[in-house]
């Protein structure tokens, strides 16, 4: 479903964040993206949501080249991807409910659907009672969970989560992982960039490791090897 061919990304200031990455991810896979800070994990996720374009190489998602895609098609691509951003990206002027609802509003969902789906997904991430609160009145972990809820709410066929447990305690992290595994079981592809070595080690899923922009490891049933 996802194919990268010789992808290189050099940012405007000359930093080479990815170099010559080639990989293929199939529908329904659960993939961990690991690597040290600054290795290029977030850059890779940004290429998939077309937030950034590669400097060289080809990115193909669901049979379509993201490079040749017309600007008008991009929103429709993004609607099918549930993104959890490393920096959350919540809309500060909207309540938690409205933030999550926005992902549905974008696809023109009815009011009824919105009022059914949003509370459900907020319960799933453990925030049933924060619906009316504005994001900057939330704790870091709560903001992160809102961001996750928003990514899940419109049943995307691909979930890209960039360090979704960075601000969560171990217990809540595990609850979330169970949620993602569950969704993955129902056929959704999940790509998760993470530093949580214990989670990676425990789940034994496919692991892609980046270091300095290079893909240095691609293991089925891999591990982080915590005490690196």
């Amino acid at each position: 479903m996802i194919q990268l061919y010789n992808v290189t990304k050099t940012y405007d200031n000359g930093v080479k964040a990815l170099s010559d990455v080639t990989l293929r991810i199939h529908k329904g896979e659960f993939v961990f993206l690991v690597g040290p800070s600054g290795a290029g994990k977030s850059t890779l996720t940004k290429l998939l949501s077309r937030e950034e374009l590669p400097s060289r190489g080809q990115v193909i998602l669901d049979g379509k080249s993201l490079i040749r895609m017309r600007p008008g098609e991009v929103p429709y691509l993004r609607r099918k991807i549930g993104m959890v951003f490393q920096d959350f990206r919540l809309l500060p002027q909207k309540t938690v409910f409205e933030n999550v609802a926005f992902a549905l509003e974008v696809i023109g969902a009815s009011k009824k659907d919105i009022h059914k789906s949003v509370p459900k997904v907020l319960s799933m991430v453990g925030l049933p009672d924060k619906a009316g609160v504005f994001p900057n009145h939330l704790s870091g972990g709560e903001q992160q969970r809102v961001s996750i809820a928003r990514a899940l709410v419109n049943n995307p066929f691909l979930i890209i989560a960039d360090e979704p447990t960075g601000n969560l305690d171990p217990e809540t992290s595990w609850d979330l992982m169970k949620l993602l595994l569950d969704i993955n079981l129902r056929g959704t592809t999940v790509i998760m960039a993470t530093h949580a070595c214990d989670i990676v080690d425990a789940l034994k899923k496919r692991v892609l490791e980046l270091t300095g922009g290079k893909l240095v490891r691609d293991e089925k049933e891999g591990a982080y090897r915590c005490e690196a």
Partner: protein, 295 residues
């Protein structure tokens, strides 16, 4: 477009007005102030124009007729002149009437003129008004060639001055209007851009969640429309009532100055100020957003 989406647009726009209350007030204020200045100066220019036109229309050509002209000849001449397209009024003034007028002008020194009645030295005359002051000089030149005409006078000098002045007022007025219009649009566009700028991150986030450009734009557009319209409404109310009270106070203290007060002129002014507010609000948001939509 789905009903739920339209619903969303309106909800979104009005929530944004309320939640960004400070930005909203600032934008409304700037629109109001700019259009207030624009509207007032428009009225100023219109009035200056109308006063100039009034003055112009009071300029007339005096046609002094030869002594021997018969009243038939005069009548024929009067008709001929009346038929000219640029002439709006022709009036015959007999030598007796002219003397009468002169006496009036002399006031209580009119005894100087006693004795002139018997041998009135003044000629018969035709007084002619033209539609536009430009035509006074060429018309006068043309009239001089008529047989019965002895002499043509039209306050040379004064007419030229008046003409130059009123042309000046008109061009200066137009230039001022255009400059102020540009300034108003600039001020308002800047404010709207600043307020969109303060929320540029939101636009980026929306785009990342799969919102189309129009989906992001529409609420901003409605918001801009609302802010622009509210601002121009304030400006219109202020201009309108301010102008009415101005007319009242001028009527009291300067009864000899006639300000424009007919509805056929004020209504289009009000309408165009409102329209301008609307257009500026919409165009301002559209242009300001463009920069942040290319993500």
């Amino acid at each position: 477009m789905r009903l739920s989406t339209i619903n969303y647009y309106f909800r979104e726009a009005f929530q944004s007005v309320l939640r960004n209350s400070w930005l909203s007030v600032a934008s409304i204020g700037v629109v109001a102030v700019s259009l207030l200045i624009l509207g007032s100066s428009l009225l100023l220019v219109l009035n200056a124009n109308s006063i100039a036109a009034n003055l112009e229309s009071s300029v007339e050509i005096s046609l002094f007729l030869k002594e021997e002209t018969s009243s038939d000849e005069i009548e024929a001449l009067e008709k001929e002149i009346k038929a000219m397209p640029e002439v709006t009024e022709v009036k015959f003034v007999s030598k007796a009437q002219a003397l009468e007028e002169m006496k009036k002008n002399f006031g209580d020194k009119q005894d100087i003129l006693t004795g002139l009645e018997e041998k009135n030295p003044l000629p018969d005359a035709l007084r002619i008004k033209t539609s536009v002051v430009d035509q006074v000089a060429p018309l006068a030149y043309q009239l001089e060639s008529f047989d019965a005409v002895d002499q043509v006078r039209y306050g040379q000098g004064v007419v030229e001055k008046l003409l130059a002045l009123s042309k000046w007022v008109r061009t200066a007025g137009l230039v001022t209007m255009v400059l102020l219009g540009i300034a108003a649009v600039f001020l308002i566009a800047t404010t709207i851009r600043l307020s969109v700028f303060a929320r540029r991150k939101e636009v980026g986030i929306m785009k990342m969640l799969g919102a189309t450009n129009w989906f992001v734009r529409f609420p901003f557009l409605l918001e801009g429309m609302f802010l622009g319209l509210t601002g121009s409404l304030l400006a219109v109310v202020a201009v309108y009532y301010g102008y009415l009270s101005l007319i009242g106070s001028i009527e009291l203290s300067l009864p000899f100055i006639q300000l424009i007060s007919d509805r056929s002129l004020l209504v289009p002014l009000v309408e165009s100020l409102l329209g301008l507010g609307l257009v500026i609000g919409v165009a301002g948001s559209m242009i300001s957003l463009r920069k942040f939509l290319n993500t």
